[in-house]
Every structure is written in structure tokens, then in C-alpha cells.
Symmetry: C2
Subunit: 283 residues, 2 copies
Amino acid sequence: MAQPQRREPARRAPSRPKSPARSPGAERAARKAAPAVTSESEDQRYLAAYDASAFERPSVTVDVALLSVKDDALVTLLLSRTSPPFRGRHALPGGFLRMDEPLEVAAARVLHDKAGLSDVFLEQLYTFGAVHRDPRTRVVTVAYYALVHPGRLEAASSDTTLARIEVPWGGETGGPVDCHALGTARSGALTLAFDHADILGTAVKRIRGKLDYTPIGFQLLPERFTLADLQRVHETVLGRPLNKDSFRRRMLASGQLEATGELQREVDHRPAELYRFSRRSAV
Amino acid sequence: MAQPQRREPARRAPSRPKSPARSPGAERAARKAAPAVTSESEDQRYLAAYDASAFERPSVTVDVALLSVKDDALVTLLLSRTSPPFRGRHALPGGFLRMDEPLEVAAARVLHDKAGLSDVFLEQLYTFGAVHRDPRTRVVTVAYYALVHPGRLEAASSDTTLARIEVPWGGETGGPVDCHALGTARSGALTLAFDHADILGTAVKRIRGKLDYTPIGFQLLPERFTLADLQRVHETVLGRPLNKDSFRRRMLASGQLEATGELQREVDHRPAELYRFSRRSAV
DNA sequence: AGGCATATATGCGTCGTGCATCGAAGCTCG
DNA sequence: CGAGCTTCGATGCACGACGCATATATGCCT
């Protein structure tokens, strides 16, 4: 819906107008006490409370979890925060939503301005709106995830940091992930700003789920790649080994691969054929 | 991220500070021209533009696509709008996000106040932020979807409308859906307010995708049900017939079902056994 | 009592997957 | 130059899930 001009009549006002019921049990009890009757006085109080908060608007930002696979590890791009809160900590690239740009454009802009990347696979991930996820004001952030192959990250790492992602949970469980700065010899875990470790965890969970039935794996590879490359990417994302033969057959049968006829070079064994992603699969 | 107090230094300012690059080609060209160099003057201009829009905040609402399956049809709960814009049209239950409540609590509150429903399966769906989705101001809405069995809808239909959902696309394609008011004999399609037909379409697409590997099907049934009931619900959601034997075996093998020992009653044929959803499946 | 409609169990061909085997094709080294 | 190494890539086979067909069970109706 959406009414900046508050006209919507509020039916079935909750017994506690100020705070909505949090626990399902309490909520059900409240409903049982006053099932479907509309009390005028309750409506009045409810409207008053509604009015008060309706015009106070939270800030809206976009954050981008930029993921890649480098040296058989999931990596992400982080920025060091130069101002409080969480000064000095690492955070996802993000920024405010402008009034005249769609959400996805804002995410692309953030990626362009802060990571120097354009023309990147980008998809909405989840919206995080915990009340105190930003200690200053209410900030609702629409998180996106982006996928690039590691070659495109090299050029962008001026004041950005590449961090290796370690997933402390198995399969599809979910939860925050741990990040370790890449390159630096010390392996101390980075403490991310805000709820960005949760955002990254959600992103990992999402791409793990979508990997089998969507062509997102190709986004993490250069244009030409071998089947072994593709399998290593899948194994890195999923965090578990895959059967080689089954993977081959499944990929070749999916119709998403196009043989280039070219062969691998500079390898000390039999070179594999190079394939290309063919997006005319969904025909 | 999220900085109401604008301190974030903007690196790699785009060559056109006002409008972020829209076309991938143009964007890539711009990046090639100025790869990783930070120009101070560009930063200045960029910050000025950034400041201007950073403090103007969009409104944030939540909308809930409440879905159910009734008489072998997908149905949703709609409200008639009593004020412009889209006065008289039907819309999803929704409302403003309050400053002190999490997103999911807001969605539950909306469901409680406008549909009289509590303790409902509720999950975040997608965030819609097209610039002019609300003709008055910028409104970003965080859409949720909710699932209930049709028995819980009867009590709630005071000034709400139940509408049958017709999906004009097949499988996982996506897009808006058509709605037809239930009960009324005439089958004229309802024109929904805002982008709510898209939200419903996204919800249908989502539950179609999640139906096989999550227990959401049980949310659309009463506590006890037969395997045939469950199959009909699945077929209605997916919009295609399913193989009976395969469905039986898959469901029984999933470990999510618990036989009650009871049998169906008041049917003019052999009664089927009643099952119950057992959430101790993931053990 | 018999018919009817549906539930429930069983058997079989097919297909995808995991596993093992085998030949092929480049490189390295003696 | 040929043997040996490593990985590629194809083939064969057992197993399980699925689609399909068949057979039996069971409560209600006539």
C-alpha cells in the first residue's frame, strides 16, 4: 500500500496501541480477547499512535555483497570505514537510495562508484531492517548480491580489501560468516560493521541454493573455461566435493554449455576443451 | 552501509555525477576512460550531488500477499481502497513501517490489524522500489507473503475481499497475475492498485519454487489432512497435475508426515488416513 | 449382497546419479 | 625418441527415484 496522507481506517486495533505484539502467543491471546469487533475508541487511539510514527521515515540504503571465487575460496570486496560508527571496520559497499533512482540502479551505482565495477550480475538479496542495526538512526537496507570472476576484481582493489569468506555452517543452515583479509599473512578474522556478516551469510546461502538450477556459476568464471574449472567453482561455493562424472554429464546435458573447440594451454597434462556459457538454454 | 551523517568519501566518482550510468555499455566505457584514479574535483562534485539526495528519505511500507488455496484455486485477501490514489481499487493489506518495529513485526501487525490474523506463516518476499510505483511520493515497500489454510480466512472477511488468482504465465516465468473477486458471479478481472499484481506474481513464483524443498505446503492445510488433500494443494499452487504414486512416495519418504491413525469421515468412498505435519523432519 | 469410488500396495521399465574402468592426449624426463 | 605421468573424456554397471500399470482393500450406497 502506501499512504503518505493518512486516511486508511485501521480495523481491529490491537489492545496495546503503542507496541505491536511480538510473541505469537501473546498476539493470539490478544486476538481471542477481542476477536472481530471494532471499537471506536480503540481505533482513535490506534490512529493517534499510527499518525505519530507514519511520517517519521527511516533511511533507506543499498548494500552490495560482491562475491567471487579466487584460488578455490569464496571472496568478497570490503571497504574500510573512515567514520564512526564502526570506524576502521570493514563494511560492504553501500550507500543511500536516491529519490529518483530504482533500487537496482542504486546498487549498480554503488558498485560502480566504490568498486569500479560495471556491467555486473546483480540481484536483490534480502532487506534488513532490524531496529538497531545502525546505532544512530533507523536504517533499512536493501541488500543485493553481485557475482564477478576474480579477474575483474584485480583492477578494483585500490582502497578496497578482498576478504576470504569462511562459512561456519553447513549446507543450507544459514547465519553469519567469517571474513579474513586476503594477502595479509596473518589470518585474524575481520569483524564486519553493522550486520554485514549476516548479509554475506545470506548471500552465500542464496547462491548455494540457486547454483543447481540457475546459471549463476558462469558469472564467477571468465568467458572461456574448462569443465574442471566450473566444477571447482561449484565445489567452492557449495563447500563440498562433487562427483566429477555426474557433474560433467549434468552440465553437458543442461544445454547451457557451448564447446569452443579450443583447448587449454600451458598445462603439464592433457589439455581440456574450453567451453562457453550459452544463454540460449531456456529455449 | 548507512550513514545519515554523510562522511563516506566517494572514490572513483563517475564522470557524470548527477545521473548514474544506465546502459552497461556506456558505463563500461566511462570506467575504461578513468580506471582507478581519484580526482579531487570529481569527488567534490560527486559529494555535492550525494549530499543533496541523501537526506531526502523515501517512505517505507510493508505489504503482505496473503495466499491460500480454496476450492482448488489460489486465493488472496484484498482490501478496497477508500482514498486516492487508486480509490476503489483493491490492494494488498499494507502499512507504514514504524520507527521502532522490525520489518517482520510490521508485516505481522498489518496482517493482524487489517485481516484479523495472527500466528501466521510469514516470510519476506521482495522489496519493490520503482520510482513511480506510488504516484505521489517515493515509496519503497518491503513485501511479505503469508500462507494460511482457507478455514482461517472465513472469519476475517468483513470488509476484505477474497480474490481468485489466475496465473497467466507457466512454470517459473514470472510476471503479474490476474485477480477475480470470489463469490460474485461475474468474473471481471480486478485491476489492483499500485504494483500489487506484480507483488502477487512474485509471491506465486516464490512459493512455486519453494514448494518441493520446503514444508510450506502444510501451511495451506488444516492440522489434519489426507495425502490427496496435500496433493491437490500442490497441484493448485504449481498449476499442473502431479503423479499420484510418486507424490505419495516422496511425501512419505520425506519424513515430514506423521500418521494420526484416524480416518477420513463423511466421504462416499473408502476413507483415507489422516496425516499431520511433523516438523521434526530436519533431525 | 453387490457395485462403486477411492485408498493403498506391488511390480516393472526408464532415467539420473555414483562408482569403476579404460583409452586418449599432451607434457616431462631419461 | 620412447617410456611414464597426469589429466581428460568416454563407457559400463549397480542403485534409487520416478512414471506407469496392476492388484487388492475398504467404506458407503443401492
